[in-house]
Assembly symmetry: C4
Homo-oligomer: 415 residues x 4
């Protein structure tokens, strides 16, 4: 992004003098005219600020900010109004001041937005911009997706969160001794009709609560789909996909109860059911719709994938390196270190400084290598973590740093 | 907070020129006049600095600081003298210099205070501002609340801290074998009169020391309440509430000894007494009156509550997620992992890298998930901690960064 | 590096005035003329920017950047065009802007490069600069060393990485029970000819896979050596040395199989073979040719050697100090702490907070010292790690922060 | 530190104009004259830079630096040449540039030094400034205290470090089984003369090596004391005190061997000898004379004492708080938690995330409190550590950031 070189015939170009609260900026007219839609680039609009007695344009504006706005005009000779260059906030200027200046000088909206994003700021968007236009969709959508829009919406949100917690509790408690009666097993011993089987299944109380939760989840999903202003983007929303995935395992269970006559333990169907039930844990991700912190964490983790992969790769390389050295140092150990992969668990546990104590070196050489491993582990693991912390901070700041563009929006009235 | 747009008829407004040690600032007169109580905003006061031969106001003041003070006038068109805008210190200016400049230009006290607070600075307050006016309250208050005011006050403070340490020591030692004679038990076997019971209780030496401590605490609290300049704010002070809570358990014990004839082990009264005794640990919080570091820690922890909740929530979500995956990977383990809640302890111990070693995975799948858990734990736990460290630093700096407003206050003489 | 003092007869020197977009810089002509090869230092070239009506040189360039470029002329009186002074980027200027300005004012290439390096930036180098000139070397070199140059090159790169992973897997799996048949042992029991022995060795399937990997490594190394544009720098490249070291152990094994008739367990030859086999782990370093993250880690670790040595030294001193105190506090312990060196393992495990739990203090004194040890360990170990994190960040940033010097290079077409 | 208010009769004071490379500074003459020993404050010296045609003083110097130097004159009205104000480097100026500017404007040495110290810089001191003046002291002092002064001095330094390592090794090895023959015990069974006893003691080989080391240490200390230019500061130097303390235990041992006829195990004399022997570990501190890293660590630890005390205090408070809650939650545990002090070890081990696993909670309540403890521990312990890291960095930087004041000093030639 080179700056403009002087015009080939400089004396033909006009020399402009800008006085920003006493600080003087001078440039060629052609430099400003590159962006004719802005205040400075438009010869007519800037004339308002012209002081003929001094032959200069006077602006009673923030001087340090103008250093950045001036650079926007100067840099990037190839940039045009259609494809503008980059705007960078000077280091020492607060973001809100610079935003006000950019608005005053009428910089392009896209340029402003990209500039704010680099400062971990975002522009406030009208939350009620994308409401369905027709009734009753509009009212329902407000009720289910905008908890702050009315008291009823708030009640529904609280109820929805409670149902999520309840279903997670059922999921966890259902594995505890005394509660771990599999409704499938109960149903199986009934040789009767479909209804008999269901009857037996519902004698298991947890299965009843589970069904109640699922009915609510289905109802919520269905009515939100009906009310959604845009069915296509609704289907693509990751939150709604979590909703669907969290429901599926129940229905597979349900059809198994109704349809299957006998399920042998350890059979492949049984394993399939087990794994499928694990998907019920996706319900915890349903919480992210309601808890901002989880969304921020998710975003931070997503943007840190590179760091995680790097970290895992470092761990694997270290594991192989230290593991094989350790194997050759303590080969005939009673620690189960009779092979290199057998030492991997020790290396992980040591590098992360967890140190369960289920395995540890006992020979002098093994202790020496163990000591080196732990020091290397502390150092290696500390390397990519600042990047992850930064990503979290960025996501967190951006969710807070919202610049108000207009006066507070009123919640639209219902129906 | 938009900056002022040019006056509708700019040429009617007067153009002012300020020369701050050679740096020129120009603005419209109306911009400065917005704050008429300040040096610059008052046409009469600023006239002292007018140089007629150059038609400018000359100030032999710090130039970089003035960039910030000038912005205070420029920004926030809607601000008035009654509801002033925000003052922001330029990044590169030291706080004490900027404070001197703000005082010179006679900025509103409230604006200065809020500006300093953002820089983690506070203005020195007269510690002797709120003394009781009458004697002997005034002398007593100085004696008990201002250790630096006299030698006797210092002695009382040291004695008070010693009594706190003594009572904590009694509390801890009283649970050790050989010292754990419950005065209630001693008293109970005496079927005699109230005095007999007390006599038996006091044969337990620790109960005697305990009583001595409590007498001092009560005396101190009572006399400080008597001397306090404002009874209402005294009752609301969190430190005094700690004092009261730390005393209560003793009196319950005392009345039990005197009144109750028999206390069955495991009965609900016994449990109540046990829990109540736990409140004696509040004595340690009495220390915070005397130790500045504890106050800073308390303030930092209080301001970090959001981060703590977030962290706990992350931990809970991770616990459920990893716990359920682990349960399905190692269900029939001898680790007591026969349910999802049973794995929670393992997940916590692993994510915080404590790793007691009481439970650890033994299957390949379990080890894999354990490894992922610990890496995720290190990353997740490191995310909100910078915020907590920042809060601590802020609280710590503010307790040190005190700008002196006047010459050192003399300790008021007593009586 | 002192700044220039005024010329002995100042009035004889010419006073130059530079106007950089309205910011005025003044200096003596001799100050600029110190670097006659630059735009400002050459009286002829700078004349293009002269405005006779104002008697100044006008540049429509970035003002804050010029503050840095101006300092380059001012400082270091002894510097000459041949031995130029140091260029430093002003804190608040983005690197790419400053680079453009340095290019505009035609600063020496070496000065630019050294300035960018301090900002953790590097100039883009033409990756195809050092291709062999003759065919078929040129095509082969592109094929093996430039994965992005063609589809076939990409396939070869993927295949090469796969072979590395395969050989590492064979190395690790070959130590697991059931797979740990030593091809040497197999061969030994065959008393037949060389071919018989080899035949027996190849009945061990892993040895076959190993041989296949080695054949590929040898082929790759040989053909790359044949095609390399500079044999000498090829031999000195650390990556190629890794390649050679990773191959050697196989051939020793191979010649042992063919030549040795009997290898006694525990003999010195057997130990030599064992240690040599460990060198096969160098194959993992072959990955660094293909994975940028490993190169960055390697560079960071290399530059952190000082910090590592410091850290190790601190650990050793702490180990001796705390170890001896602990020995005198708990001398007759059943922990194996019957000597000072015997406590070293405990001290390391404690200071790094691993805490396997194989040894721990049991007396009161030992616990007290253990507590102090762990707090000191946390503090001591946290001291040099910021330096290591910084080194990693620097290496990482430099591998990303590449300033484009020309338009994108096209991959040269193949012969 | 308020800035100067305008002179009471401003128009009588002279208005000075300083042109620093084109940047204009204006001030009252009285502001500059406050420091008459500096270049700017002396009316005669500054006249050299006066340009009569423009009525200004022109300096071809660094502009951003002058902003800081100008502030030095402006601030602190009460400062005088004898008691000068504070000089602060502007944030964005490199230290070496600012140092050159301060020297040019002839600022007071003490002001420069204090300014550099705040930037973690120190001025190079002539290492050979304090040599003894007479021979042979001068030669000996160079030989023993300036390893870089000659080859023989280097050899002596290496030998001295080797002797330290040897004596530490003897100290550690001497506690290992097989080597732990107490020379006192050997000597005691000899009922013969003093020489017989010594003879027996020297049959223990380690005692011989020990004696050799001590002889060297004594010789070194004695000859250095003889050669030292200032006996008083020699005695006060902490390094020499370490030397003496490291020698004392041997002589006590020696006199015990010679004088004591019988030493009963477990007697108070025996305990005294044991504790005294522990002081031999001070030898490791003798290393700090030769290893710069240890000095830096020592300085950093010394300056972090406040943070350490704070941290220990936090740990103690947390220990008492969590320990007592834990005691009431799990009172009848088999963990040895039958008292509050009994839980302290668990709390420390948990808060520091060491987690040996010798004790861990088993009840639900205990696990809950354990989880809270570890999270609080991670947070609490992370709070003061940035201060310690900063102290270490500061000490480390100051040992490296040395500004050269003159050309490289030659090592003085020997006698
Ligand atoms: K641990
Ligand atoms: K552990």
């Amino acid at each position: 992004t080179p700056l403009p070189s002087p015009p080939t015939t400089p004396r033909e170009d006009r020399h402009l003098r800008l006085n920003v609260s006493g600080m003087i900026f001078e440039t060629w007219e052609s430099t400003l005219n590159r962006y004719p839609n802005t205040l400075l680039g438009d010869p007519v609009r800037r004339e308002t600020f012209y002081c003929p007695d001094r032959d200069e344009y006077f602006f009673d504006r923030h001087r340090p900010s103008f250093e950045g706005i001036f650079l926007f005009y100067q840099r990037d000779k190839k940039a045009t109004a259609d494809k503008p260059g980059k705007m960078e906030k000077p280091l020492s200027v607060p973001v809100d001041i610079f935003y006000a200046e950019m608005k005053f000088f009428d910089i392009d909206e896209a340029v402003i937005k990209q500039c704010l994003e680099e400062e971990w700021y975002s522009l406030e968007e009208d939350p009620y911009a994308e409401l369905p236009t027709r009734e009753p969709q509009r009212s329902i959508w407000l009720l289910f997706d905008y908890p702050e829009s009315s008291l009823w919406a708030k009640i529904i949100a609280v109820f929805s969160v409670s149902m999520i917690f309840l279903s997670i509790a059922v999921f966890c408690v259902g594995t505890m001794p005394g509660f771990d009666v599999d409704p499938l097993d109960s149903a199986m011993f009934s040789n009767g009709t479909m209804l008999d089987k269901l009857d037996r299944a519902y004698e298991d109380h947890l299965f009843g609560v589970e069904t109640a939760c699922i009915i609510w989840f289905c109802f919520e999903l269905a009515i939100r789909f009906y009310a959604s202003p845009n069915k296509c983007s609704f289907m693509k929303d990751i939150m709604n996909i979590f909703d669907i995935v969290a429901i599926v395992p129940f229905f597979v269970d349900f059809f198994m109860i109704v349809g299957v006559s006998k399920l042998e333990k350890g059979s492949s169907t049984s394993v399939f059911v087990r794994v499928l039930r694990l998907f019920r844990i996706f319900r915890i991700l349903k919480l992210s719709r309601h808890v901002k912190g989880l969304q921020v964490l998710g975003k931070a983790l997503f943007e840190s994938i590179g760091s995680f992969i790097l970290l895992s790769f470092f761990l694997c390389v270290s594991m192989t390196l230290f593991g094989s050295v350790l194997y050759f140092a303590e080969p005939n150990d009673s620690n189960g270190w009779n092979s290199i992969p057998g030492t991997f668990w020790y290396i992980i546990v040591t590098m992360t400084t967890v140190g369960y104590g289920d395995v540890y070196p006992s020979s002098l050489g093994g202790k020496l290598i163990g000591g080196v491993t732990v020091v290397c582990g502390i150092m290696t693991l500390s390397m990519p973590s600042p990047a992850i912390v930064t990503n979290f901070n960025k996501a967190w700041e951006m969710s807070k740093n919202v610049i108000a563009t207009q006066d507070k929006n009123e919640a639209p009235s219902m129906g």
